[in-house]
Amino acid sequence: MSVSIADPKMMASSSSARSLLRHTFVLTRRSVVGRLRQPAVLAPAFIFPLFFAALGSASFNKLASDPYFTANIATSFMNYAVAGAVLQGVLFGSTSAAGDLATDIEQGFFERLLASPISRTAIVLGRLAASMVVAVVQVVIFMAIFVVAGARIESGPIGFIGLIGGGALLALAMSAMMAGLAIKSGSPEVVQGAFPLVFVLMFLSSAFFPRHYMKGWYRTVADWNPLSHIVEGMQGFMNHELSASQFAKSWLIPFVLAVIGIAFALRALNNRLAAS
């Protein structure tokens, strides 16, 4: 026991893990505060998803008279639209968070962080954790608004936690990929330029309308689109009894994407460090 305490390797590892956590926490806080100070940047991530959900529920509510829809998909179109709004809000928010990282690089703040005695990994993890925090707040606010408007979470409190977790993991995955792009390019324009691709992926999924009613190549693309399965997992929390498949779709897929995204972001960071 005394050996393990005195072991300098272990002490160093424990101390570096602690400092990684501390630095990540500080940078997460900075990033969250930075986002809160720019309400104009954050607003679209709230306004547009809520608007589209309200529009969809008023436009397509007659779909709820289709027996297939009520039996297999959702109890009302509003209940269906909640998950799409969460997905949309999280994707908007994560992209703008990565844009902030690219701005840091462009304006030189990133170089100052690299020069300071903090963990390099924390620079990336801080941003990603901030995206998750914002996503959690976003999902909670969205749910409060939707519940007041008449939506119901059929899977109960655990389903609510499932939705929050799904939103947070999706934010992690998306912001990791976008952060990788931001570090690689160092340009906010490139990050913003990649957003239309996310927008296209969102439309080519079941975020706004059930896959069951799509036809032809559009249906095939939606079937293969991972966003369809993520959003359907979230829709499961809203509209069905709790099941493992909901977690598998809305947690596992974003988790795998997050691992790939983080690896991409850290690799981009290493390449940038090596180049500089």
């Binding site: 608007f51 008023a58 397509f60 799509m214 036809k215 559009y218």
Partner: protein, 270 residues
């Protein structure tokens, strides 16, 4: 010798009478088109987005309109996306004006011996010219996708009239707002205004399929009448009953936005 005399004559006319207004309009429109050619990155999204939205809306929401008896979802969405594509030109007008204000070019236009309405009309005319390409592109994609035009050639005429009217209305609104705000916020607000006006109408489904608050809003939104005018030839024959509401809505909006733009430039002068 004769060449020298001609040049002198032209110079004398320019100095004493000022430039002819429509010549100036033509020159400013040409300048606006040169900007499109030199900065295609600013124009291409206004070309791609309506086509993408046409594909996305008809692919995703197709069932919602075909289940109401409409033969092909494209019949419903082509007029909408043609109008949306036309309205994007307003952003180009706003960005161009802000750029001219920042570089000082707009001050030189104001000092030129031309009436103020020339500045407004030239921007509106540029918006009309810009919108021709997106409208054509959307209609061609619609034809490739198999859209129906039971109204024949008049279907295309109606969608072209409605789209051009929306391009002018959006550009007039963008000008009025940009003259007042004088920053990029004007372009953003214009984008929001166009977006919400279009979507809070019968953009996605007919009035009969709507429920609740949206039905009430869409009923009083002038865009609903304009969309009805634009869509009629794609859903059946072109008739006066389907047209007059849209014609009145377009005329009123054109007058109001022109007044808004003109009062804006006067405020800018002051």
């Amino acid at each position: 010798m004769s060449n020298t005399i001609t040049e002198q004559t032209v110079n004398i006319r320019t100095i004493s009478d000022g430039a002819r207004p429509f010549e100036v309009v033509a020159i400013l429109v040409k300048r606006s088109m040169m900007r499109v050619r030199r900065m295609p990155s600013a124009f291409i999204p206004s070309l791609v987005m309506p086509v993408f939205q046409l594909i996305a809306f008809s692919g995703a929401f197709g069932f919602a309109v075909t289940s109401l008896g409409i033969k092909n979802a494209l019949d419903w969405y082509v007029p909408l996306n043609a109008m949306q594509g036309a309205s994007f030109g307003a952003l180009g007008v706003s960005f161009g004006l802000i750029n001219d204000m920042q570089t000082g070019f707009f001050d030189r236009i104001l000092m030129a011996p031309t009436p103020r309405w020339v500045t407004v009309v030239s921007s509106l005319a540029a918006a009309v010219v810009r919108c021709v390409v997106p409208i054509t592109f959307v209609v061609i994609v619609g034809y490739i996708g198999g859209m129906n035009t039971p109204g024949g050639f008049m279907a295309i005429v109606c969608v072209a009239i409605a789209s051009i009217a929306i391009a002018v209305v959006a550009a007039g609104f963008a000008l009025g707002l940009t003259f007042r705000m004088r920053n990029l916020g004007a372009a953003t607000l214009t984008q929001f205004a166009i977006f919400f006006t279009i979507f809070l109408s019968t953009s996605q489904v007919p009035l009969s399929a709507m429920s609740g608050w949206l039905r009430g809003v869409a009923r009083i939104n002038p865009m609903t009448n304009i969309l009805r005018f634009a869509r009629q030839g794609f859903l059946g024959d072109v008739t006066w009953e389907q047209s007059w509401g849209g014609i009145i809505a377009m005329a009123v909006l054109l007058i109001l936005t022109f007044i808004y733009a003109m009062t804006g430039i006067k405020k800018f002068d002051q």
